[in-house]
């Protein structure tokens, strides 16, 4: 039987997210609990979380979360990393032994800074260098998988139900200003830890519910720019698209949303704001191969914020609610009510309408 990376596996899912606009820290407990009422949206073959602001003491270093299949591959990979990075901390990611989560690989994290001399000699900017290194490891080193590579953030994922995965990783011991979560319902997989969400690159993380019909058009386009879709999952390609549009092309979040969930031509033609019409025409013409079709609801995590987005036909459920400094996003309102029973202003964003929440300037670290 083929595993992910050798074959494309469609899946349905549950997502949930929370952010404090004031940058107030929350433990991972709340986000774990939010996944419980959506238990039936997952099938135990994948769950995961991303937390932002969780490593304040190492905030200037890239936090690499990695899976290894053996001690030997870890040693080899470490030797490779040391040629390119200064590793200032290297440790096992603490986990709880629970019967719900078994067969774990070796789960490790490194806090590291790229060696300036190395990326300067390659004529690469620091982030580009880190991204390329992650891509290289994931594509070329069998038995090694980098599942998180941003600063002051981290992804935690496993095969299991999300609420169990949260307990497994002891997420109640971490504190972050924003969290995202995912429960997976793949239709056909032997269950591989790397295949769970969130999918990340640098500080971008994506949790995604849906199955995109544009997958191979998107993948074959984005792979022109050095991205290697080793997992062949929708989420992986969406993450790379967001990295390409935001970091490489320098688009704003709103502009990137207008590329991947572009308004219909008829909607663009009907716009009375001519400047806006011109912008949308430009973006669709410029990036036609990055339009994502088919059902999706995603939450993109990044340093200092979250963006939620639905496909342009809104073929997947997604609701947003607020309370005080917090904004909640989830596949179902029940998840929001679990986090905050008195949540207000609950609404369903329209298809293609991005919901962007950013922490106040200077309020996150």
């Amino acid at each position: 039987m083929k595993i992910e990376g050798q074959v494309r596996i469609p899946s349905g899912c549950a997502i949930s997210a929370v952010i404090s606009k004031d940058g107030n820290k929350m433990s991972g407990e709340m986000i774990i609990n939010s996944m419980k009422p959506m238990h039936d949206r997952s099938n135990g073959l994948g769950g995961g979380f991303a937390g932002y602001g969780i490593y304040p003491e190492y905030k200037d270093f890239y936090a690499f979360h990695m899976f290894f299949d053996s001690r030997d591959t870890r040693k080899k990979c470490e030797a490779f990393l040391k040629e390119r990075f200064e590793i200032i901390q290297s440790e096992i990611i603490p986990t709880r032994k629970i019967p719900e989560v078994t067969d774990e690989p070796i789960i490790w994290r490194y806090f590291a800074a790229p060696l300036k001399s190395v990326h300067a000699s390659l004529q690469l900017k620091e982030k580009e260098f880190v991204a390329k290194t992650v891509m290289k490891i994931n594509a070329e080193m069998p038995g090694v998988y980098v599942f998180s590579s941003g600063k002051n953030m981290g992804a935690f994922k496993a095969v299991g139900f999300p609420e169990d995965v949260g307990v497994f990783y002891k997420l109640e011991e971490y504190e972050g200003y924003s969290w995202t979560a995912h429960g997976r319902y793949p239709t056909n997989t032997p269950g591989w830890w790397g295949g769970a969400h969130p999918f990340t690159l640098l500080d971008y993380s994506v949790v995604h519910n849906g199955e995109i019909s544009s997958y191979d058009a998107n993948r074959r386009f984005i792979e022109m720019f050095g991205y290697q879709c080793t997992l062949r999952t929708d989420t992986e390609v969406i993450t790379y698209i967001m990295d390409y549009l935001l970091r490489v092309q320098g688009l704003t979040l709103g502009e990137a949303a207008s590329v991947i969930a572009a308004p219909f031509w008829s909607t663009i033609a009907a716009k009375t704001d001519l400047e806006d019409q011109k912008k949308h025409t430009y973006l669709r013409t410029m990036f036609p191969s990055l339009l994502i079709t088919g059902p999706f609801s995603i939450v993109l995590g990044f340093e200092g914020g979250l963006m939620a987005l639905n496909d342009r036909l809104k073929l997947r459920s997604m609701v947003v609610g607020e309370k005080d400094d917090k904004v909640f996003i989830a596949s179902e309102e029940a998840a929001i009510r679990t986090m905050e029973p008195n949540a207000e202003n609950i609404w369903s964003p329209a298809g293609g309408e991005p919901v962007i929440v950013q922490v106040k300037e200077g309020a996150f670290s």
Partner: protein, 501 residues
Amino acid sequence: MSIEFIYPEFEVIRNENRCISCRACERQCANDAHSYDKKHNIMRCDESKCVNCQRCVSFCPTKALKIVKSDCTLRENANWSTQTIKEIYRQANSGGVLLSSMGNPNPLPVYWDKILINASQVTNPSIDPLREPMETRVFLGKKPSKVQRSKDGKLDCTLPPQLELSMPVMFSAMSYGSISYNAHKSLALAATELGILYNTGEGGLHEDFYCYGENTVVQVASGRFGVHADYLEAGAAIEIKIGQGAKPGIGGHLPGAKIAGDISRTRMIPEGSDAISPAPHHDIYSIEDLRQLVFSLKEATEYKKPVIVKVAAVHNIAAIASGIARSGADIIAIDGFRGGTGAAPTRIRDHVGIPIELALAAVDQRLRDEGIRNHVSLVVGGSIRSAADVVKAIALGADACYVATAALLALGCHLCRTCQSGKCNWGIATQRPELVKRLNPEAGSKRLIHLMTAWKHEIKEFMGGMGINSVEALRGNRLMLRGIGLTEKELEILGISHAGE
């Protein structure tokens, strides 16, 4: 009769009980196959003149006629087919190169027919095109590699020139001369109404058709017939024709007999002189020369029009396309070995070039491997026969398709493959006024519009079934395709999996 006699290929069967000797067949046949025997008041026929164009069959008011394949056979031989033997007789009779028209008819693999399309089930909803928007609009042209912003951070929305098509199909090049005024007019009217483009071919643009310029691709071929400043300005895009799928590496020859009146004026050559298109452009002997012509044309039109470079699908097409993509061209058009023609040497047509499916797959992948796929758009033709072929071509990686034979069929062509005679009974591949007038441009354009509208509906049905609501998301989406009965190597070149995988 003599050693030179070759038994006619077809027999004209006339049902004498139905025939009323109205002589319609005689009037309809420019080949003089039918004649009236006054003495006996019956119709006679000379089947040696019949090309099986079905004109008399279609116009017989009593349905008294049918054309059948002759059953006068040579002794069967698996090595020496009747066709091969007869061609030898013809060459022994004449000493000439055999001429043929339209695309390669031989039983070589048609990969379109060995590719199957996907549909959504359960995990992803299919979309009903009657209920939801379904977009078929495409823009052809170079896409810049980097977003630019002005100093105040605003997006700089300027783009290189783009061609907007309401659906990913254009009518491909057929010159005025090889086809009639009325055929050209039908194409121009239909392209305008449909929001797509037609292509002048290499014979220039008749002055009456400048008004359809926004929906016209003007071609510059090796003969440079009818090329002048106003002509270049008239079109929405300029196509440099390097080669044609039906006759890669071969030039063209329109006999002086066809260079009369308007054709002479439009081609800007004297009446009665042969119109010879050299095999190569004599100012393009290498890729760097192509770059100069591309930029000469851009200079002449102030960089306002995309430049298309059209080549035939030949063995090294991926590398050739990569060279073209770096030559400044905005669009590459590739013509497969089944592409049609008004006249080509039979041997060349039937033995030179490669299938468009393989050429397209190889070029699309090569341009992606080199990271320059978005520097050019890809248009493929030769032969695209249906909406299913279009969908498969787009999913393999094409931006749009060129269709010509299908368009001619809509205009009445019955694929008798004798365009080179100039006696097209359907008023298409002829310049004889009495034949040309048989094709009414308004009626012809209506049939073209019907055909393309039907294809558009079918394309939308396919897309909706796959859960795709915009053609951009289909382009290069090879996971939507599976091969059937193909070898590992063929699948590898096409970049698709086998059905069941």
